[in-house]
Amino acid sequence: MATETLTTLPWYATPKVSRAMRRVGRYPLVPLALLTFLLVIPALFAPQVAPYDPLKGSLSKRLKPPAWQQGGTIEHPLGTDKLGRDMLSRIIHGARVSLMVSLVAIFVGGIVGTGLGLISGYFGGWVDALLMRLVDISLSLPTILLALVLVAAVGPSFGTVITILMIFLWARYARLVRGETLSIKERDFIARARVAGASHIRIMARYIFPNVVNSLVVLATLQVGYVILLESTLSFLGAGLPRPMPAWGLMIADGRELIVTAWWVSMFPGLAIMLTVLSLNLLGDWLRDHLDPKLRHV
Protein backbone atom coordinates (compact mmCIF):
# COMPACT_ATOMS: atom_id res chain seq x y z
CA MET A 1 0.00 0.00 0.00
CA ALA A 2 2.66 2.54 0.98
CA THR A 3 4.78 1.92 -2.11
CA GLU A 4 1.74 2.35 -4.32
CA THR A 5 1.09 5.87 -2.98
CA LEU A 6 4.74 6.88 -3.31
CA THR A 7 5.09 6.00 -6.95
CA THR A 8 1.92 7.82 -7.96
CA LEU A 9 2.81 11.17 -6.34
CA PRO A 10 3.75 14.05 -8.68
CA TRP A 11 7.34 15.23 -8.43
CA TYR A 12 6.60 18.33 -6.40
CA ALA A 13 4.82 16.36 -3.72
CA THR A 14 7.55 13.84 -3.06
CA PRO A 15 8.93 14.00 0.46
CA LYS A 16 12.33 15.31 -0.58
CA VAL A 17 10.93 18.24 -2.53
CA SER A 18 8.29 19.15 0.00
CA ARG A 19 10.88 19.11 2.76
CA ALA A 20 13.03 21.51 0.80
CA MET A 21 10.07 23.73 0.01
CA ARG A 22 9.11 23.85 3.65
CA ARG A 23 12.58 25.01 4.52
CA VAL A 24 12.38 27.76 1.95
CA GLY A 25 8.83 28.61 3.03
CA ARG A 26 10.23 29.58 6.40
CA TYR A 27 11.50 32.77 4.87
CA PRO A 28 9.20 35.51 3.65
CA LEU A 29 10.44 35.37 0.08
CA VAL A 30 8.00 37.60 -1.72
CA PRO A 31 8.34 40.61 0.57
CA LEU A 32 12.10 40.21 0.71
CA ALA A 33 12.40 40.04 -3.07
CA LEU A 34 10.13 43.02 -3.57
CA LEU A 35 12.01 44.98 -1.00
CA THR A 36 15.39 44.20 -2.45
CA PHE A 37 14.43 45.40 -5.87
CA LEU A 38 12.33 48.35 -4.81
CA LEU A 39 14.22 49.70 -1.89
CA VAL A 40 17.58 48.23 -1.07
CA ILE A 41 19.27 48.11 -4.46
CA PRO A 42 17.97 51.47 -5.65
CA ALA A 43 18.81 53.07 -2.36
CA LEU A 44 22.35 51.78 -2.18
CA PHE A 45 23.29 51.96 -5.83
CA ALA A 46 21.13 54.79 -7.08
CA PRO A 47 23.84 56.70 -8.93
CA GLN A 48 24.93 53.54 -10.73
CA VAL A 49 21.52 52.07 -11.40
CA ALA A 50 19.59 55.15 -12.47
CA PRO A 51 20.03 55.90 -16.18
CA TYR A 52 19.73 59.67 -15.82
CA ASP A 53 20.39 62.46 -13.36
CA PRO A 54 17.22 62.90 -11.34
CA LEU A 55 17.62 66.63 -11.08
CA LYS A 56 18.47 67.52 -14.64
CA GLY A 57 15.86 67.47 -17.31
CA SER A 58 15.60 68.82 -20.79
CA LEU A 59 12.48 70.79 -21.52
CA SER A 60 12.32 69.41 -25.02
CA LYS A 61 11.59 66.01 -23.53
CA ARG A 62 8.94 67.08 -21.06
CA LEU A 63 5.89 64.97 -20.29
CA LYS A 64 6.78 62.02 -22.42
CA PRO A 65 4.52 59.03 -21.72
CA PRO A 66 5.85 55.62 -20.67
CA ALA A 67 7.51 53.44 -23.25
CA TRP A 68 4.51 51.24 -24.01
CA GLN A 69 2.29 54.15 -24.93
CA GLN A 70 2.09 56.25 -28.03
CA GLY A 71 4.80 58.87 -28.05
CA GLY A 72 6.91 57.10 -25.49
CA THR A 73 10.45 55.96 -26.04
CA ILE A 74 12.42 53.12 -24.55
CA GLU A 75 14.96 55.68 -23.38
CA HIS A 76 12.50 56.83 -20.75
CA PRO A 77 10.66 53.65 -19.84
CA LEU A 78 8.43 55.32 -17.28
CA GLY A 79 8.09 58.64 -19.02
CA THR A 80 9.24 62.09 -18.00
CA ASP A 81 7.82 64.78 -15.76
CA LYS A 82 6.98 68.36 -16.53
CA LEU A 83 10.60 69.48 -16.38
CA GLY A 84 11.78 66.71 -18.64
CA ARG A 85 13.33 64.62 -15.88
CA ASP A 86 13.34 60.86 -16.30
CA MET A 87 10.74 59.23 -14.06
CA LEU A 88 12.58 55.98 -13.58
CA SER A 89 15.71 57.70 -12.33
CA ARG A 90 13.69 59.91 -10.03
CA ILE A 91 11.90 56.94 -8.56
CA ILE A 92 15.18 55.12 -8.01
CA HIS A 93 16.69 58.13 -6.28
CA GLY A 94 13.46 58.58 -4.39
CA ALA A 95 13.97 55.17 -2.85
CA ARG A 96 17.31 56.36 -1.57
CA VAL A 97 15.82 59.56 -0.14
CA SER A 98 12.94 57.77 1.55
CA LEU A 99 15.15 55.11 3.03
CA MET A 100 17.67 57.65 4.25
CA VAL A 101 15.04 59.79 5.93
CA SER A 102 13.36 56.81 7.58
CA LEU A 103 16.58 55.25 8.76
CA VAL A 104 17.94 58.46 10.24
CA ALA A 105 14.64 59.24 11.95
CA ILE A 106 14.20 55.72 13.30
CA PHE A 107 17.81 55.50 14.38
CA VAL A 108 17.88 58.77 16.28
CA GLY A 109 14.35 58.39 17.60
CA GLY A 110 15.14 54.82 18.56
CA ILE A 111 18.28 55.75 20.44
CA VAL A 112 16.55 58.52 22.36
CA GLY A 113 13.53 56.35 23.06
CA THR A 114 15.54 53.32 24.06
CA GLY A 115 17.78 55.32 26.35
CA LEU A 116 14.87 57.03 28.05
CA GLY A 117 12.95 53.78 28.27
CA LEU A 118 15.87 51.99 29.90
CA ILE A 119 16.32 54.77 32.43
CA SER A 120 12.63 54.95 33.11
CA GLY A 121 12.18 51.23 33.60
CA TYR A 122 15.34 50.70 35.55
CA PHE A 123 15.12 53.54 38.05
CA GLY A 124 11.39 53.80 38.39
CA GLY A 125 10.02 56.35 40.78
CA TRP A 126 9.35 59.93 39.75
CA VAL A 127 11.64 59.67 36.73
CA ASP A 128 9.50 56.87 35.43
CA ALA A 129 6.26 58.70 36.15
CA LEU A 130 7.46 61.87 34.45
CA LEU A 131 8.77 60.10 31.37
CA MET A 132 5.61 58.08 30.96
CA ARG A 133 3.48 61.20 31.11
CA LEU A 134 5.70 62.65 28.39
CA VAL A 135 5.22 59.50 26.36
CA ASP A 136 1.44 59.69 26.69
CA ILE A 137 1.43 63.31 25.63
CA SER A 138 3.72 62.57 22.68
CA LEU A 139 1.52 59.75 21.49
CA SER A 140 -1.61 61.85 21.65
CA LEU A 141 -0.20 64.70 19.58
CA PRO A 142 -1.55 64.81 16.03
CA THR A 143 1.61 64.40 13.96
CA ILE A 144 0.59 65.89 10.67
CA LEU A 145 -0.96 68.92 12.29
CA LEU A 146 2.15 69.59 14.33
CA ALA A 147 4.31 69.10 11.28
CA LEU A 148 2.28 71.77 9.56
CA VAL A 149 2.76 74.12 12.48
CA LEU A 150 6.50 73.58 12.49
CA VAL A 151 6.82 74.04 8.76
CA ALA A 152 4.75 77.20 8.91
CA ALA A 153 7.26 78.54 11.39
CA VAL A 154 10.53 77.26 10.02
CA GLY A 155 9.97 76.20 6.42
CA PRO A 156 10.33 72.73 4.92
CA SER A 157 13.72 71.09 5.04
CA PHE A 158 15.42 67.79 5.62
CA GLY A 159 16.03 68.72 9.26
CA THR A 160 12.39 69.67 9.88
CA VAL A 161 11.14 66.34 8.59
CA ILE A 162 13.59 64.38 10.71
CA THR A 163 12.61 66.39 13.80
CA ILE A 164 8.92 65.78 13.28
CA LEU A 165 9.41 62.09 12.66
CA MET A 166 11.58 61.76 15.73
CA ILE A 167 9.02 63.42 17.96
CA PHE A 168 6.53 60.92 16.68
CA LEU A 169 8.79 57.89 16.98
CA TRP A 170 10.68 58.10 20.24
CA ALA A 171 7.66 57.52 22.46
CA ARG A 172 6.89 54.07 21.10
CA TYR A 173 10.43 52.89 21.67
CA ALA A 174 10.49 54.35 25.15
CA ARG A 175 7.28 52.59 26.08
CA LEU A 176 8.37 49.25 24.68
CA VAL A 177 11.82 49.31 26.22
CA ARG A 178 10.46 50.43 29.57
CA GLY A 179 8.03 47.52 29.66
CA GLU A 180 10.71 45.00 28.84
CA THR A 181 13.17 46.56 31.30
CA LEU A 182 10.63 46.29 34.07
CA SER A 183 10.32 42.57 33.58
CA ILE A 184 14.00 41.89 32.95
CA LYS A 185 15.35 43.78 35.94
CA GLU A 186 13.65 41.39 38.34
CA ARG A 187 15.65 38.46 37.09
CA ASP A 188 18.42 36.75 38.98
CA PHE A 189 21.33 37.57 36.77
CA ILE A 190 20.70 41.26 37.27
CA ALA A 191 20.76 40.86 41.03
CA ARG A 192 23.99 38.93 40.76
CA ALA A 193 25.53 41.66 38.67
CA ARG A 194 24.59 44.24 41.28
CA VAL A 195 26.10 42.15 44.00
CA ALA A 196 29.26 41.78 41.94
CA GLY A 197 29.49 45.56 41.93
CA ALA A 198 28.37 46.45 38.42
CA SER A 199 27.40 50.08 37.99
CA HIS A 200 23.89 51.01 36.88
CA ILE A 201 25.04 52.02 33.45
CA ARG A 202 26.93 48.80 32.96
CA ILE A 203 23.91 46.76 33.92
CA MET A 204 21.64 48.66 31.59
CA ALA A 205 24.02 48.49 28.67
CA ARG A 206 25.54 45.07 29.08
CA TYR A 207 22.72 43.06 30.58
CA ILE A 208 19.34 44.60 29.93
CA PHE A 209 19.80 46.11 26.50
CA PRO A 210 20.84 42.90 24.64
CA ASN A 211 17.63 41.25 25.79
CA VAL A 212 15.58 44.09 24.45
CA VAL A 213 17.15 44.16 21.01
CA ASN A 214 14.80 41.55 19.52
CA SER A 215 11.71 43.59 20.16
CA LEU A 216 13.48 46.72 19.00
CA VAL A 217 14.26 45.15 15.66
CA VAL A 218 10.66 44.11 15.15
CA LEU A 219 9.38 47.53 16.10
CA ALA A 220 11.87 49.27 13.83
CA THR A 221 10.92 47.13 10.84
CA LEU A 222 7.24 47.70 11.41
CA GLN A 223 7.92 51.39 11.64
CA VAL A 224 9.99 51.92 8.51
CA GLY A 225 6.93 51.42 6.35
CA TYR A 226 4.84 53.78 8.40
CA VAL A 227 7.59 56.39 8.46
CA ILE A 228 7.89 56.25 4.68
CA LEU A 229 4.13 56.80 4.42
CA LEU A 230 4.27 59.68 6.87
CA GLU A 231 7.19 61.34 5.14
CA SER A 232 5.57 61.07 1.72
CA THR A 233 2.32 62.48 3.07
CA LEU A 234 4.17 65.44 4.53
CA SER A 235 6.09 65.97 1.30
CA PHE A 236 2.85 65.79 -0.66
CA LEU A 237 1.40 68.56 1.49
CA GLY A 238 4.50 70.67 1.08
CA ALA A 239 5.47 70.20 4.70
CA GLY A 240 8.16 67.61 4.12
CA LEU A 241 11.23 67.48 1.99
CA PRO A 242 11.86 70.56 -0.08
CA ARG A 243 11.96 70.69 -3.84
CA PRO A 244 13.79 69.72 -5.98
CA MET A 245 14.68 66.60 -3.98
CA PRO A 246 13.36 63.49 -5.70
CA ALA A 247 10.95 62.50 -2.94
CA TRP A 248 8.08 60.24 -3.92
CA GLY A 249 5.52 62.39 -2.13
CA LEU A 250 6.70 65.50 -3.95
CA MET A 251 6.46 63.72 -7.29
CA ILE A 252 2.89 62.74 -6.62
CA ALA A 253 2.06 66.32 -5.68
CA ASP A 254 3.62 67.57 -8.90
CA GLY A 255 1.63 65.10 -10.91
CA ARG A 256 -1.68 65.97 -9.36
CA GLU A 257 -2.51 68.87 -11.64
CA LEU A 258 -1.40 66.81 -14.61
CA ILE A 259 -3.56 63.83 -13.81
CA VAL A 260 -5.67 64.24 -16.90
CA THR A 261 -2.86 64.51 -19.43
CA ALA A 262 0.15 62.92 -17.75
CA TRP A 263 -1.09 60.27 -15.35
CA TRP A 264 2.28 58.56 -15.09
CA VAL A 265 3.85 61.37 -13.09
CA SER A 266 1.67 60.50 -10.10
CA MET A 267 1.00 56.85 -10.70
CA PHE A 268 4.47 55.36 -10.60
CA PRO A 269 5.83 57.04 -7.46
CA GLY A 270 2.61 56.06 -5.70
CA LEU A 271 2.96 52.49 -6.85
CA ALA A 272 6.51 52.50 -5.55
CA ILE A 273 5.36 53.74 -2.16
CA MET A 274 2.58 51.20 -1.95
CA LEU A 275 4.71 48.21 -2.87
CA THR A 276 7.52 49.28 -0.56
CA VAL A 277 5.26 49.84 2.43
CA LEU A 278 3.36 46.64 1.71
CA SER A 279 6.47 44.49 1.66
CA LEU A 280 7.85 46.23 4.74
CA ASN A 281 4.61 45.51 6.56
CA LEU A 282 4.63 41.88 5.50
CA LEU A 283 8.27 41.54 6.50
CA GLY A 284 7.58 43.18 9.84
CA ASP A 285 4.67 40.87 10.50
CA TRP A 286 6.76 37.84 9.67
CA LEU A 287 9.58 39.06 11.92
CA ARG A 288 7.18 39.69 14.74
CA ASP A 289 5.65 36.25 14.45
CA HIS A 290 9.03 34.59 14.43
CA LEU A 291 11.02 36.68 16.84
CA ASP A 292 8.57 37.72 19.49
CA PRO A 293 4.88 36.87 19.31
CA LYS A 294 4.33 38.83 22.52
CA LEU A 295 4.43 41.95 20.41
CA ARG A 296 1.19 41.27 18.62
CA HIS A 297 -0.33 44.40 20.03
CA VAL A 298 2.41 46.64 18.67
Partner: protein
Protein backbone atom coordinates in the same frame (compact mmCIF):
# COMPACT_ATOMS: atom_id res chain seq x y z
CA UNK B 1 -20.34 58.27 37.64
CA UNK B 2 -20.15 61.99 38.28
CA UNK B 3 -16.66 61.64 39.72
CA UNK B 4 -15.55 59.78 36.64
CA UNK B 5 -16.93 62.47 34.36
CA UNK B 6 -15.33 65.20 36.43
CA UNK B 7 -11.97 63.46 36.38
CA UNK B 8 -12.05 62.89 32.63
CA UNK B 9 -13.16 66.45 31.99
CA UNK B 10 -10.23 67.74 34.00
CA UNK B 11 -7.83 65.52 32.06
CA UNK B 12 -9.23 66.85 28.81
CA UNK B 13 -8.73 70.42 29.92
CA UNK B 14 -5.13 69.61 30.78
CA UNK B 15 -4.61 68.05 27.37
CA UNK B 16 -5.96 71.11 25.58
CA UNK B 17 -3.75 73.32 27.70
CA UNK B 18 -0.70 71.26 26.77
CA UNK B 19 -1.62 71.62 23.12
CA UNK B 20 -1.68 75.40 23.37
CA UNK B 21 1.70 75.27 25.08
CA UNK B 22 3.15 73.09 22.33
CA UNK B 23 1.77 75.24 19.54
CA UNK B 24 2.95 78.40 21.26
CA UNK B 25 6.50 77.11 21.66
CA UNK B 26 6.67 75.76 18.11
CA UNK B 27 5.89 79.22 16.84
CA UNK B 28 8.75 80.70 18.74
CA UNK B 29 11.17 77.93 18.01
CA UNK B 30 12.60 79.71 15.02
CA UNK B 31 13.64 82.59 17.22
CA UNK B 32 11.72 85.65 16.30
CA UNK B 33 8.16 84.92 15.22
CA UNK B 34 8.08 88.31 13.59
CA UNK B 35 10.19 86.89 10.79
CA UNK B 36 7.33 84.53 10.16
CA UNK B 37 4.56 87.04 10.50
CA UNK B 38 5.87 89.99 8.55
CA UNK B 39 6.52 90.04 4.82
CA UNK B 40 10.12 90.35 3.71
CA UNK B 41 9.90 94.00 2.68
CA UNK B 42 8.96 95.21 6.15
CA UNK B 43 11.32 97.81 7.54
CA UNK B 44 12.48 98.28 11.13
CA UNK B 45 9.56 100.64 11.97
CA UNK B 46 7.16 97.88 10.96
CA UNK B 47 8.95 95.48 13.25
CA UNK B 48 8.69 98.00 16.12
CA UNK B 49 5.03 98.58 15.57
CA UNK B 50 3.97 94.95 15.22
CA UNK B 51 6.22 93.98 18.08
CA UNK B 52 4.45 96.41 20.39
CA UNK B 53 1.05 95.41 18.99
CA UNK B 54 1.57 91.72 19.71
CA UNK B 55 3.38 92.41 22.93
CA UNK B 56 6.46 90.61 21.71
CA UNK B 57 8.72 92.90 23.67
CA UNK B 58 7.33 91.40 26.84
CA UNK B 59 8.84 88.40 28.61
CA UNK B 60 7.76 84.98 27.38
CA UNK B 61 5.39 84.02 30.15
CA UNK B 62 3.51 87.30 29.78
CA UNK B 63 3.23 86.63 26.07
CA UNK B 64 1.88 83.18 26.70
CA UNK B 65 -0.64 84.50 29.18
CA UNK B 66 -1.88 87.09 26.69
CA UNK B 67 -2.04 84.46 23.98
CA UNK B 68 -3.97 82.10 26.20
CA UNK B 69 -6.43 84.70 27.40
CA UNK B 70 -7.15 85.69 23.83
CA UNK B 71 -7.41 82.11 22.65
CA UNK B 72 -9.93 81.24 25.33
CA UNK B 73 -12.17 83.92 23.91
CA UNK B 74 -11.66 82.51 20.44
CA UNK B 75 -9.40 85.30 19.26
CA UNK B 76 -6.48 83.92 17.32
CA UNK B 77 -5.55 87.12 15.65
CA UNK B 78 -5.97 88.12 12.06
CA UNK B 79 -4.92 86.15 9.07
CA UNK B 80 -1.88 87.44 7.18
CA UNK B 81 -2.72 85.94 3.87
CA UNK B 82 -6.41 86.69 3.65
CA UNK B 83 -6.38 90.31 4.64
CA UNK B 84 -9.20 91.52 6.78
CA UNK B 85 -10.30 88.09 7.93
CA UNK B 86 -9.76 86.85 11.43
CA UNK B 87 -8.12 83.48 11.80
CA UNK B 88 -10.97 82.07 13.84
CA UNK B 89 -13.49 83.43 11.38
CA UNK B 90 -11.86 81.52 8.56
CA UNK B 91 -11.85 78.33 10.56
CA UNK B 92 -15.50 78.72 11.47
CA UNK B 93 -16.35 79.30 7.83
CA UNK B 94 -14.66 76.14 6.65
CA UNK B 95 -15.36 73.76 9.49
CA UNK B 96 -18.86 72.64 8.42
CA UNK B 97 -17.49 71.42 5.10
CA UNK B 98 -14.88 69.28 6.83
CA UNK B 99 -17.35 67.89 9.33
CA UNK B 100 -19.71 67.00 6.53
CA UNK B 101 -17.02 65.15 4.64
CA UNK B 102 -15.76 63.38 7.74
CA UNK B 103 -19.26 62.32 8.71
CA UNK B 104 -19.94 60.93 5.29
CA UNK B 105 -16.59 59.14 5.23
CA UNK B 106 -17.30 57.58 8.60
CA UNK B 107 -20.71 56.42 7.41
CA UNK B 108 -19.22 54.84 4.30
CA UNK B 109 -16.49 53.09 6.23
CA UNK B 110 -19.03 51.73 8.71
CA UNK B 111 -21.22 50.46 5.90
CA UNK B 112 -18.27 48.63 4.38
CA UNK B 113 -16.48 47.51 7.53
CA UNK B 114 -19.47 46.20 9.45
CA UNK B 115 -20.69 43.46 7.10
CA UNK B 116 -17.21 42.35 6.10
CA UNK B 117 -15.97 42.30 9.68
CA UNK B 118 -18.92 40.29 10.90
CA UNK B 119 -18.85 37.88 7.97
CA UNK B 120 -15.11 37.44 8.31
CA UNK B 121 -15.61 36.35 11.91
CA UNK B 122 -18.54 34.10 11.19
CA UNK B 123 -16.95 32.36 8.23
CA UNK B 124 -13.51 32.19 9.67
CA UNK B 125 -10.89 30.93 7.27
CA UNK B 126 -13.17 31.33 4.31
CA UNK B 127 -13.48 33.70 1.37
CA UNK B 128 -14.73 36.68 3.36
CA UNK B 129 -11.96 36.27 5.86
CA UNK B 130 -9.28 36.37 3.18
CA UNK B 131 -10.95 39.37 1.57
CA UNK B 132 -10.95 41.11 4.93
CA UNK B 133 -7.27 40.38 5.46
CA UNK B 134 -6.36 41.73 2.04
CA UNK B 135 -8.39 44.88 2.54
CA UNK B 136 -6.78 45.44 5.93
CA UNK B 137 -3.32 45.03 4.49
CA UNK B 138 -3.98 47.36 1.59
CA UNK B 139 -5.56 49.89 3.88
CA UNK B 140 -2.36 50.17 5.82
CA UNK B 141 -0.02 50.32 2.84
CA UNK B 142 -1.79 52.59 0.40
CA UNK B 143 -0.86 56.21 0.74
CA UNK B 144 -4.26 57.92 1.03
CA UNK B 145 -3.32 60.84 -1.17
CA UNK B 146 -2.26 58.50 -3.93
CA UNK B 147 -5.45 56.51 -3.58
CA UNK B 148 -7.39 59.74 -3.94
CA UNK B 149 -5.53 60.71 -7.09
CA UNK B 150 -5.95 57.26 -8.59
CA UNK B 151 -9.67 57.18 -7.78
CA UNK B 152 -9.96 60.61 -9.32
CA UNK B 153 -8.14 59.41 -12.40
CA UNK B 154 -10.17 56.26 -12.88
CA UNK B 155 -13.63 57.40 -11.94
CA UNK B 156 -13.61 61.09 -12.68
CA UNK B 157 -11.28 61.47 -15.60
CA UNK B 158 -11.64 58.21 -17.44
CA UNK B 159 -15.15 57.09 -16.62
CA UNK B 160 -16.54 60.52 -15.93
CA UNK B 161 -18.89 59.23 -13.27
CA UNK B 162 -17.97 61.85 -10.70
CA UNK B 163 -16.60 65.38 -10.78
CA UNK B 164 -12.96 65.81 -9.87
CA UNK B 165 -13.18 68.55 -7.31
CA UNK B 166 -15.27 71.05 -5.44
CA UNK B 167 -18.20 70.81 -3.14
CA UNK B 168 -21.79 70.23 -4.08
CA UNK B 169 -24.27 67.44 -4.08
CA UNK B 170 -23.61 63.87 -3.16
CA UNK B 171 -21.65 63.06 -6.29
CA UNK B 172 -18.96 65.51 -5.19
CA UNK B 173 -18.64 63.77 -1.88
CA UNK B 174 -18.26 60.16 -2.85
CA UNK B 175 -14.66 60.01 -4.06
CA UNK B 176 -13.23 62.14 -1.23
CA UNK B 177 -15.24 60.21 1.34
CA UNK B 178 -13.98 56.86 0.08
CA UNK B 179 -10.42 58.16 0.16
CA UNK B 180 -10.84 59.53 3.65
CA UNK B 181 -12.59 56.49 5.03
CA UNK B 182 -10.31 53.92 3.46
CA UNK B 183 -7.86 53.57 6.29
CA UNK B 184 -10.62 53.49 8.87
CA UNK B 185 -12.24 50.55 7.09
CA UNK B 186 -9.16 48.46 7.76
CA UNK B 187 -9.03 49.41 11.43
CA UNK B 188 -12.74 48.97 12.09
CA UNK B 189 -12.92 45.69 10.24
CA UNK B 190 -10.06 44.10 12.08
CA UNK B 191 -11.40 45.14 15.44
CA UNK B 192 -14.93 44.07 14.70
CA UNK B 193 -13.71 40.72 13.47
CA UNK B 194 -11.70 39.96 16.58
CA UNK B 195 -14.38 41.11 19.00
CA UNK B 196 -17.03 39.16 17.09
CA UNK B 197 -14.84 36.08 17.34
CA UNK B 198 -14.71 36.56 21.10
CA UNK B 199 -18.43 37.05 21.45
CA UNK B 200 -19.34 34.13 19.18
CA UNK B 201 -17.56 31.84 21.59
CA UNK B 202 -19.25 33.04 24.72
CA UNK B 203 -21.78 31.17 26.78
CA UNK B 204 -24.84 33.27 26.22
CA UNK B 205 -24.60 32.71 22.48
CA UNK B 206 -24.83 29.00 23.03
CA UNK B 207 -27.96 29.66 25.04
CA UNK B 208 -29.57 31.64 22.24
CA UNK B 209 -28.87 28.81 19.87
CA UNK B 210 -30.35 26.26 22.24
CA UNK B 211 -33.36 28.51 22.51
CA UNK B 212 -33.83 27.89 18.83
CA UNK B 213 -33.23 31.36 17.48
CA UNK B 214 -32.47 31.59 13.80
CA UNK B 215 -28.74 31.79 13.21
CA UNK B 216 -28.90 35.15 11.52
CA UNK B 217 -30.69 36.60 14.51
CA UNK B 218 -28.06 35.19 16.83
CA UNK B 219 -25.24 36.72 14.85
CA UNK B 220 -26.65 40.02 13.76
CA UNK B 221 -28.89 40.91 16.63
CA UNK B 222 -27.28 39.54 19.74
CA UNK B 223 -23.59 39.12 19.01
CA UNK B 224 -23.18 42.35 17.12
CA UNK B 225 -24.56 44.41 19.94
CA UNK B 226 -21.90 43.15 22.27
CA UNK B 227 -19.11 43.11 19.74
CA UNK B 228 -19.80 46.69 18.78
CA UNK B 229 -18.60 48.02 22.11
CA UNK B 230 -14.92 47.44 21.41
CA UNK B 231 -14.72 49.42 18.19
CA UNK B 232 -16.37 52.24 20.11
CA UNK B 233 -13.25 52.63 22.18
CA UNK B 234 -11.12 53.28 19.16
CA UNK B 235 -13.68 55.68 17.84
CA UNK B 236 -11.64 58.54 19.22
CA UNK B 237 -8.56 57.37 17.35
CA UNK B 238 -10.67 57.05 14.23
CA UNK B 239 -11.96 60.58 14.70
CA UNK B 240 -8.38 61.79 14.99
CA UNK B 241 -7.44 59.88 11.89
CA UNK B 242 -10.36 61.35 10.00
CA UNK B 243 -9.37 64.86 10.90
CA UNK B 244 -5.74 64.56 9.92
CA UNK B 245 -6.77 62.57 6.87
CA UNK B 246 -9.10 65.38 5.92
CA UNK B 247 -6.10 67.64 5.49
CA UNK B 248 -4.72 65.40 2.78
CA UNK B 249 -8.02 64.47 1.14
CA UNK B 250 -9.22 68.04 0.92
CA UNK B 251 -5.98 69.01 -0.79
CA UNK B 252 -6.36 66.30 -3.37
CA UNK B 253 -10.01 66.98 -4.17
CA UNK B 254 -10.01 70.74 -3.54
CA UNK B 255 -12.76 70.29 -1.01
CA UNK B 256 -13.19 73.73 0.64
CA UNK B 257 -12.78 72.68 4.24
CA UNK B 258 -10.43 73.41 7.10
CA UNK B 259 -7.91 70.89 5.83
CA UNK B 260 -7.37 72.77 2.63
CA UNK B 261 -7.31 75.98 4.64
CA UNK B 262 -4.45 74.83 6.77
CA UNK B 263 -2.39 73.58 3.82
CA UNK B 264 -2.79 76.89 2.01
CA UNK B 265 -1.92 78.74 5.20
CA UNK B 266 1.23 76.69 5.64
CA UNK B 267 2.32 77.42 2.10
CA UNK B 268 1.79 81.12 2.72
CA UNK B 269 3.45 80.94 6.15
CA UNK B 270 0.28 82.38 7.65
CA UNK B 271 0.97 81.31 11.16
CA UNK B 272 -2.12 82.72 12.83
CA UNK B 273 -4.44 80.57 10.77
CA UNK B 274 -2.36 77.45 11.20
CA UNK B 275 -2.37 77.98 14.94
CA UNK B 276 -6.13 78.41 15.02
CA UNK B 277 -6.81 75.31 12.93
CA UNK B 278 -4.48 73.10 14.92
CA UNK B 279 -5.89 74.12 18.26
CA UNK B 280 -9.47 73.77 17.06
CA UNK B 281 -8.76 70.33 15.64
CA UNK B 282 -6.98 69.26 18.79
CA UNK B 283 -9.92 70.56 20.80
CA UNK B 284 -12.38 68.55 18.75
CA UNK B 285 -10.24 65.45 19.08
CA UNK B 286 -9.93 65.76 22.84
CA UNK B 287 -13.64 66.48 23.16
CA UNK B 288 -14.50 63.38 21.12
CA UNK B 289 -12.24 61.35 23.37
CA UNK B 290 -14.10 62.65 26.38
CA UNK B 291 -17.54 61.91 24.98
CA UNK B 292 -16.54 58.41 23.92
CA UNK B 293 -15.04 57.65 27.31
CA UNK B 294 -18.18 58.77 29.08
CA UNK B 295 -20.35 56.79 26.72
CA UNK B 296 -18.21 53.74 27.24
CA UNK B 297 -18.40 54.11 31.02
CA UNK B 298 -22.15 54.33 30.68
CA UNK B 299 -22.30 51.13 28.65
CA UNK B 300 -19.79 49.16 30.69
CA UNK B 301 -20.00 49.97 34.41
CA UNK B 302 -16.71 48.29 35.20
CA UNK B 303 -14.82 51.23 33.74
CA UNK B 304 -16.17 53.77 36.17
CA UNK B 305 -14.38 52.30 39.13
CA UNK B 306 -10.90 52.46 37.68
Amino acid sequence: MQRYIARRALQSLMAIWVMTLVVFSLARISGNPLDVMLPLEAGPEEYERVSKHWGLDQPLHTQYFIFLSKAVRGDFGDSWKWHGESAMGLVAQRLPATLQLAGFALAISLVIALPIGVLAAVMKGNGWDTAAKIIALLGQSLPPFWLGIMLMWIFAVHLGWFPTSGRGGIQYMILPAITLGWFQVAVLMRLLRSSMLDVLDSEFVKLTRIKGLAEWKVVWKHCLRNAAITPLTVFAIIAGGLMTGAVVTESVFSWPGTGQLVVDAVRARDFQVVQAVVIVFAGIFILTNLVVDILYAYLDPRIRYQ
